[in-house]
């Protein structure tokens, strides 16, 4: 079966400094795939490469077996194929929550205004923000902005959802709720989820498989399910990273 996303021997750099080298992994359809590692190891940079926000040479990243460079120029890669939830929600501040969610629908679908409004209400209710349609991002809390960002990310029911540190800045209850929501979306919509995180509670609660980016050796040092990694990995950094989670959870 062709992996949903495939990364082959990817080298990442930031401002001319090599951050990670020789990264290779596959993300399968329908799994919750985690990119984990210590702060500053390059997780968010890797996400940018996966999203096509950073240029990558050919034959390094593949979506459904096709090179990312040919896929991102297709009309529906962004929006229909992928949805992204950024760390702070990244809502467009000049628009209300409803307008934020409606914009992809207005742009990419032939739906009429009434139907778009209904879908917007549905998406906002899925993330627990029913009734906040006419609020601007600056009028709601950080956690709510994040949920609204998720509503926008799933506006077009994308095939793959990317999350950049979804629980960052959230209290444990909100973080748990977001985790549940991610699981629910994955189960009900059958979507593939890629999450960049270092939140251990989330890692063990929702992760199907994970890659550990090691800041010292600058490459992937472990791949597998979080529980499997903790039980079988010989890498001291992986153990140190994951073992705190078992003590806490």
């Amino acid at each position: 079966m062709v992996p949903k996303i495939s990364v082959k021997n990817l080298d990442m750099s930031y401002d001319n400094y090599v951050v990670m080298r020789d990264l290779s992994f596959d993300v399968q359809q329908g799994e919750i795939f985690l990119i984990i590692g210590q702060s500053g190891c390059g997780k968010s940079t890797l996400l940018k490469y996966l999203l096509g926000l950073k240029r990558v040479s050919r034959q390094k990243i593949f979506y459904d077996g096709k090179d990312i460079n040919s896929v991102i120029n297709g009309s529906h890669f962004y929006g229909k194929k992928i949805g992204v939830l950024y760390q702070g929600g990244a809502l467009w501040s000049s628009m209300t929550l409803a307008e934020n969610v409606a914009l992809p629908l207005e742009t990419y679908t032939p739906l009429d205004k009434k139907e778009i409004e209904e879908i917007v209400a549905l998406k906002l209710s899925l993330v627990g923000l029913k009734g906040f349609e006419n609020f601007y991002p600056s009028q709601i809390s950080g956690g709510m902005q994040k949920r609204a960002g998720l509503a926008r990310a799933i506006a077009l029911d994308p095939e793959i959802l990317f999350f950049d540190e979804p629980s960052a800045g959230l209290d444990s209850v909100s973080a748990k709720r977001l985790d549940d929501l991610i699981l629910e979306l994955k189960e009900s919509l059958g979507i593939t989820v890629v999450i960049v995180t270092h939140d251990l509670a989330s890692i063990f609660a929702i992760g199907t498989r994970a890659v550990y980016l090691d800041v010292e050796s600058k490459t992937i040092t472990a791949t597998g399910s979080p529980h499997e990694l903790l039980a079988t990995s010989n890498d001291k950094n992986v153990i140190a990273f994951l073992s705190r989670g078992t003590k806490n959870s």
Binding site: Y17, Y78, Y86, A90, W92, S93, S94
Partner: protein, 375 residues
């Protein structure tokens, strides 16, 4: 009571360092460097005991002092008896040593030679020009697409920008233009009254406002007001990942953010320029009627006869171009913003400086072109 550290020789090869008193950032304490010099002067030393007594208060100052001493002793292969170090201090020293060192090269640039410096400046200018032309090219392409009906802009967003750059700018444009007209008239009256040619104040104010000052002053005001706002808004969006969110939602940032702003400013600038010119002429009129014997009718008639259609269109053409420059530079600088609050401020400043410089250069080029064509 300040921090005290004393070095006492127990024998030829063994010394004890006694540490006592208050060791915190507010009290005096011996410097580690001076103390290391003392240790260095005892060349036969092989072992040092650290003894603590009557240590009342300590903080990172003492930790730092001890780390220096321990590092020095380690480098000189001196044995140090650390058993007496209080447990809290010992833990912090160990923690500082066990903190992992990242294998990252420093981002701080090494000092470069003059030749390298010149090369870097040249490269910077080349890249800056390349980026600017690249951006202008993309923008022009989007404008053409828009004109051909292939690109769309959000009407709500456009209306808000239009209001911001147009109606809301009227008060400041009025004030500055009125004062500029006033100043030109004052200077003119002082000179022309010596020849009894006060009537020509109307010519000077009218022509200068219509051809030059109206569009330049409006351009400069818009650079400081609107261009800076564009740069700050887009820069902040960059910091908040909103631009990335646009791209991953499949929207072109040029189409979505730049195009409405450029079109709005190019549309509003001629109107503001005409308005500015008339307000400036009004300022001149005030000076003329209060400081000379000219009447309102004389001044207006003279102004109408002095200004020709060419002057009017020269102002209009230039203001359209200045509007384009201000909006494009503001947006481009915003999109080049990095991801910190400091960069937003820097971007805004750069946007204003670049816009004003570009306006002056463009005006000079226009002056040459118009004089070549006798306009």
């Amino acid at each position: 009571m300040s921090g005290i550290a004393e070095l006492k020789l127990e024998s030829e090869n063994v010394a004890t360092i006694f540490i006592s008193g208050i060791w915190n950032v507010y009290e005096k304490h011996p410097s580690a460097e001076q103390f290391i010099e003392q240790i260095s002067s005892k060349s036969s030393l092989q072992k040092i005991d650290l003894k603590f007594f009557d240590l009342k208060v300590w903080d990172s100052v003492l930790i730092n002092f001890l780390i220096h001493i321990l590092n020095f002793c380690e480098s000189k292969n001196l044995t140090v008896n650390t058993n007496d170090i209080p447990i809290g201090i010992r833990r912090l020293i160990e923690l500082s040593k066990t903190s992992p060192v990242r294998n990252m090269s420093s981002t701080r640039q090494k000092k470069s030679t003059t030749l390298e410096f010149i090369g870097q400046i040249g490269l910077l200018i080349f890249l800056s020009l390349k980026n600017s032309f690249g951006f202008m090219g993309k923008l022009c392409w989007e404008i053409v697409s828009f004109a051909r009906g292939k690109a769309k802009i959000r009407s709500q967003e456009f209306a808000v920008v239009l209001q911001d750059v147009g109606v809301k700018a009227l008060p400041i444009v009025s004030l500055i233009s009125f004062l500029v007209g006033l100043i030109i008239a004052f200077v003119s009256v002082l000179q022309l009254s010596q020849f009894g040619a006060n009537i020509y104040v109307a010519d000077l104010v009218g022509i200068s406002m219509m051809r030059e000052m109206g569009c330049i002053m409006t351009g400069i005001i818009m650079a400081g007001r609107t261009g800076a706002a564009f740069a700050a808004t887009i820069g902040t969006m960059m910091v908040n990942d909103e631009i990335d969110a646009l791209q991953t939602a499949g929207f072109s940032s040029i189409n979505f953010l730049v195009l409405p702003r450029v079109i709005a400013l190019v549309w509003m600038m001629p109107l503001l320029c005409v308005f500015s010119s008339f307000i400036g002429i009004l300022g001149g009129l005030c000076v003329a009627i209060f400081s000379t014997n000219l009447t309102i009718v004389q001044y207006c008639t003279r102004t109408a006869s002095a200004i020709c259609l060419n002057d009017f269109f020269v102002g209009i053409i230039k203001s359209c171009f200045f509007g384009f420059l201000v909006a494009a530079i503001g947006c481009q600088k915003g999109l080049q913003c990095k991801r910190s609050a400091e960069d937003v401020g820097l971007t805004t400043t750069t946007s204003v400086v670049t816009s004003i410089t570009a306006i002056i250069i463009a005006d000079a080029i226009f002056a040459v072109i118009f004089s070549m064509f006798g306009v």
